[in-house]
Amino acid sequence: MQLFFITALSQTQSYTTQVLDDTGAPVPYATVNEVGTQNYTTTTESGRFTLETTATNFTIRISSVGFETLNIQVSNGNLPKQITMNPSSEELDAVVITALGIARERQALASSVSIVSEEQLTEVPMTNLVNSLAGQVAGVQITNGSSGVGSSSRIIIRGENSLSGTNQPLFVVDGVPISNEQITSDLVNDGALQEVDYGNGGADISPDDIASISILKGAGSAALYGSRAANGVVLITTKRGRRQPGFGVSTSSTLTIETPLTLPDYQNEYGGGSNGEYAFQNGIGAGVNDGGISSYGPRSDQGQLIPQFDSPSTDINGNPVRGGDVIARTLPDGSFTEITPTPWISRPDNVLDFFETGVTYQNNVAISSASENSSSRLSYSSLRNEGIVPNTDFKRDGLALSLDQDLNDNLRVSTFVNYINTRSGNRPNLGYGYENVLYGFNWTGRQANIASMRDYWQAGQEGVQHFDINYLWLTNPYLTLYENTNSFNKNRVLGNVSATYEFSHKLKLTVRGGLDFYQDNRAFRRAKSTNKNPEGSYREDYVKYRELNNDVLLTYKDEFNDDWEYSVSAGANRFDQKINYSYAEASQLALPDIYSLANSRTPLKGNSQIFDKRINSVYTFGNIAYKNQIYLDATYRNDWSSTLPDGNNSFGYYSAGLSYVASNMFEMPEAISFLKLRLSAASVGNDTDPYQNTQNFQFNQNYGSSFRVTNETVLKNANLKPERLDAYEVGLEAWFLKSRLQLDASAYQNVSKDQIISRPISSASGFQNYNVNGGKVRTRGLELMLSGDIIKGGDFGWQSSVNFSTFRSVVTELPEGVDQFVTGSANIFNGGSNTVFYIARENGRVGDMYGTGFVKVDGETLYANGFPVQDNTLRLLGNYNPDFSLGFNNNFSYKNISLTILWDWRQGGTIVSRIKALGSTSGVLKETLVGRENGIVGAGVRNAGTMESPSYVPNDVSVSASSFYNNFYDRGNEESALYDASYLKLRQVSIYYNFPSALTNSIGFTTIKVGIVGSNLLLFTENPHFDPELNGLQERNIVYGVEDFSYPSTRNFGFSLKTQF
């Protein structure tokens, strides 16, 4: 490369050089000024700049946010080949990656963008990158799936705008969207195959490959990405090759162990049975209450000996077997051999001991190098997890390669390719039903020695009949986990290629192509003799996903004069998405233990579907800046979506923003070092899913050889039009005391209208839902971020930050003629009651949950015969959204030691608990001990008069505890099982020690860092039974505000070692 060249045409000379930071990475967009003149330029993305001047002896000043301003003397035209800038100790603002991967000075931003740095992402290594954001960013709400590592985490930015959509933000890697969807298999709560969580797509990316994540919260900053960005954007910038002395290698290793954080608070005084009696004989009722599954049986630890399922017995030939080996114990006349009674003792830890210690290894090794014209980085990440649920695991291997190459002075090509394989031998089942072991424990007598079920086949019945405490309702939990596996293997390639051609330093063209492709093969095995699959079954699911994004973007940048700079860009995008989903199932196996579709006793069940979608777009945007004081942005985009009907399929997006840096315009008081005001407004559109415009018939399985079709339950609509979201935001950034105290405040309003909702209609009209535009939801919110360098300068440092967010989404309008709109429901099982309805009512909040409860007389529960009287009328149970959330992050450092502590507080919200309802019904929960000896008189009134002339007196009828709890927590009502979902969590703690560079250098390393890390360490919440942060999965949807026998969340501890050499 030429260090500089002198053009022959004029006396003006061009000086070109590259500006790097202290790590060798380029410093883009630094301002370069020939001191004493109005001659300004900026560095390019690769840190290069060309300054044209007629002078040969001069000084240039290079300034960039986050760096100390540098003055370079140039004499006789001798400019150094590279210039290194030192980071500013004041940590002035950094460059922020914004929409379309465009880096901008933070002070130029007109809408709220939050940055999560590499450090924040990897300080406490998370297995799902979405979880790294929990508590870190104001306005971002994270909830987890409950099946451990590999579960899907849901991220909601600034509340829910849409009544029917997933409200998930768009995930973008290096400017190209990828899929964060989870394509679930259509499994059914309490069905023969219950739900399985296969994780959210974004989680496939290893946090070690991420340089930073920008959260574009407002619709304004997202307007350029089109409809899918209406709920915000999670913009991931991958790590690139870095200039190192020679060849750079970095490693990161973490070993984490996981233990259950929460378990239901079980009682340990009464074992299984009813009415204080129990004796096992055959587990279906031949003994005393041994067909029942509640824990209202004999008192434990009273020295009683009782025949139990694991008590010794003999088979009919006199060989020793267990009581539960019923088949071997059955004599020809149908009677059984004797069981030797064993002590009836409490086993307080029988469930806790069932869980194992989870272990997760995460390793990453990356090599990177850069030369003058190119840089590359190659990284391998691996994750190995054994979950706390026995025989469940999750594995991930990722190979990431990034290349950046300057083909010549004008043309630069970049690529990022990431191959990811995720797989598991078994993912646990979720939901209400025996396939979820937590369901089993709810209905297993508290005295049960669960560990004795580990040998899970009955004597002489291997592969044919399992061994259990109860053969009517339960399935041995070890059998469920070791035989009834749900495996998957997903291969994914995502990546992008881009070429940027700089016609001049003013005009530049970028062409970019992105691909996200994966195939996911899932297999479900069910052994014979299990509850819903007495004959066993085998099913294979196949998901193929492909998304292509192609972009061109032309950018022109210039200045009117010394004060006014501007840039304009125009681009186009094509988005193509194709999803194939198919499955085949042998629902009854012919032979045991052979899992093949060919081993089917009945005709195979199956289906295959294709979903195609395309969006074409053009967009343009421009910004104009006055000095460093005022920045004005405007964008326009138009989309054409294949999912909307002809004539309605074109829709535009507009946004405008203003950033006003008052501190650069006026002299501020000493205390204020920076003051900026932001304003932005945007209006964005949204489309829908494929095939929502025309009515089709759907296939039903054959009756014999007769073919059957039926109508869809959704009434389609040929006149759908795009949804619209209008967003306004104001923001204030103020830094005080030489930037040691920084405040960032945003207030916003999003109004979402013409929503495409699949509105439930009276099924008497012929359909259950109708696709229609309508409804208006207004979300108003406030976000505050306050951070301070409380102590700095000496050996000891303390940085602290608090982020606070609150929002309220209100339904301000519903489609004409609709007074309420059921947006979804969460039931305990199909056909059962205990359904929570999510209902939007005018002036109600999004997230309001409705259910049934008890008849009230002047606010008091009405009792009849000692039991509460149920009322079928739907009433408001609560809202699943929090009132506010607050993250509190502290960073302490002393010499080479750093300590990070992150607290996460969520206040408000209601959660409906199945564990509470059904654990009370079954009598396993601690609170059901109340009244066992003396009965219970429910708090409320009873009618002492007649039906016609009632006279209410306080309820004074005592009933047995088991009857009372069975009625009070009955499935027919939801009111009795509500909890406040508020919690305070010690989210993350890490202590790192940085080895002194003298030491590390002497053994050939640049840095060595070891640490102890922990996450999810403490939980303070109202309910003693479960972690309210977890969400449920029902059929194909994540459900909120309902705890559905979630697995315990885990407390994680680990060791981390990071090196660079």
Binding site: G273, A570, Q588, I610, R614, S642, V709, T710, Y770
Partner: protein
């Protein structure tokens, strides 16, 4: 600048290509058809309803209310926690939509129309008999933007001279008798339209009897009895068999053991079948496990409506209580999906004759009915069966009606809620609510309206609920009120 212009033009071209692309094609659903032959919808309606009426409705729900089965632990309906049965409500309206959508398909004809109307009448009668006033004349009009149909009174649903079920059935039978078109996909009668005429007439007889407390003119009933066009043998039964292979097996064949254990023989049916020395006991139920073990087989029923604590307190050994018979559990195709049997027609005529609605020989009808039902189960009438005091008719109207209706009740096991409708109408057999019932000792007479109606059709729901005397399981429907 030339390069730039070129590029800009390129960009514009790309854009244009994008815009002119035919999106409609891309958004055509490749996974399912917009149009099919009507026969596939007919097959769907006939099989799905037969299954639902027999298994989910008849076996799993109504058998408890009708006291053919008693629950030991979980089935709250045995204690009269009725709920809304909304799944069936939704299913019926879905099937009605299938029938309605046949009308716009190529291949549709008059015969499909008449058969479809018979099925519609059957389905709407299910709705009104289970819930009372339901959407009828304004139902199924979503395609005409009617999303909140009003609820018609039960009286008009049955008796409106134009739109009422009775009028529609009559018209359909006439249409089919004068037919010159044919249907396919009829897995119930193998496309034999004369059997549809018989089914239609028999249904009309069923519904005329249903509303018999509310009418005084029984000439239609007499005409039907004399028509020779009712179901006249078990060969003409309106049933759709379960098959040996999935997915058309009787679902109980693969149900969880616990679900099987939840359905016990009841004290009620135990006493009746033993009183009659009835061979059906061997087919419908199994001897208790305990009695099999001891080598002295015995059937034993359980009292309905007891909670598990009471059962435990009483020291009832569940191994000494009968379960349902092999045809329900051990065979995938041991039973049929039910609409209507020959026996029911004969019982109806017997009741009508005994009540004086029609003329005819009560005893013949009665014995034909019992014989038909026994034969249906593959059993013969034992010698001396009809001569037993508990069986034989004496000519005393009240006691004869009790015998007729009790026999009829037994013949309707698993046939949806038909036996319940009869009990509600006649009070026979007089079933006693179980000790732990949650309805203040009252026998429930309807299901609650689905919660979804409160949410989606609330004004009409409110109006109907008020008209019925409250959305309550004790609000009597029109035909039941005296």
């Amino acid at each position: 600048m030339k390069n730039i212009s070129l590029l800009l033009i390129g960009l514009l071209c790309l854009t244009c290509i994008s815009c002119t692309n035919d999106f409609n094609e891309l958004n055509e659903n490749p996974n399912s058809p917009p149009e099919v032959d009507p026969q596939y919808l007919l097959t769907n309606v006939l099989t799905v309803e037969a299954d639902a009426n027999t298994y989910e409705q008849g076996f799993l729900l109504a058998n408890y209310i009708e006291q053919f089965s008693a629950s030991v632990e979980f089935e709250r309906i045995d204690r009269y926690e009725m709920g809304s049965n909304s799944e069936y409500w939704n299913l019926i309206f879905g099937l009605l939509t299938d029938l309605k959508s046949m009308e716009n398909l190529p291949g549709y004809n008059e015969a499909y129309g008449a058969v479809g109307d018979i099925m519609k009448s059957f389905l709407f009668s299910q709705l009104t008999d289970m819930w009372g006033d339901v959407p009828y004349t304004e139902a199924l009009l979503a395609l005409d933007d009617q999303f909140t149909p009003k609820y018609d009174t039960q009286e008009s649903i049955y008796t409106d001279p134009e739109t009422g079920i009775l009028a529609v059935l009559k018209r359909s039978a006439e249409t089919l008798q004068n037919r010159n078109t044919s249907i396919q996909g009829d897995v119930m009668f193998s496309n034999d339209l004369s059997k549809w005429v018989r089914f239609s007439n028999s249904l009309r007889l069923r519904y005329l009897l249903r509303i018999s407390k509310r009418v005084t003119d029984f000439s239609e009933m007499q005409a039907l009895a004399d028509s020779g066009m009712l179901i006249e043998s078990n060969d003409q039964n309106a049933v759709v068999p379960y098959l040996s292979s999935a997915p058309n097996q009787f679902p109980f064949f693969t149900a969880a053991l616990g679900a099987y254990g939840e359905h016990r023989m009841t004290k009620t049916v135990d006493s009746v079948l033993k009183l009659w020395n009835d061979p059906r006991i061997n087919i419908i139920y199994k001897p208790t496990q305990l009695s099999v073990t001891s080598g002295n087989t015995e059937f034993k029923g359980l009292l309905n409506g007891q909670n598990r604590e009471i059962i435990s307190e009483k020291g009832i050994n569940l191994n000494d209580i009968s379960l349902f018979g092999s045809i329900y559990r051990d065979q995938p195709d041991g039973v049929d999906g039910q609409y209507m049997q020959y026996a029911e027609v004969q019982f109806a005529l017997a009741e009508a004759a005994a009540s004086g609605y029609i003329t005819g020989d009560v005893k013949t009808y009665y014995q034909n009915a019992i014989t038909a039902n026994l034969n249906y189960y593959g059993a013969e009438v034992p010698a001396g069966y009809f001569e037993q005091t508990a069986v034989t008719l004496t000519g005393d109207k009240d006691s004869d009606l009790i015998k007729i209706l009790t026999q009829k009740w037994l013949s309707l096991i698993s046939n949806g809620h038909e036996a319940w409708f009869n009990i509600r109408r006649t009070g026979i057999p007089a079933l006693k609510p179980g000790p732990d019932n949650l309805n203040d000792g009252r026998y429930p007479v309807r299901y609650l309206y689905p919660e979804s109606e409160q949410a989606t059709n609330s004004a009409n729901y409110q109006e109907a609920a008020e008209r019925m005397g409250g959305d309550d399981i004790n609000s009597k429907v029109w035909w039941e009120s005296p």
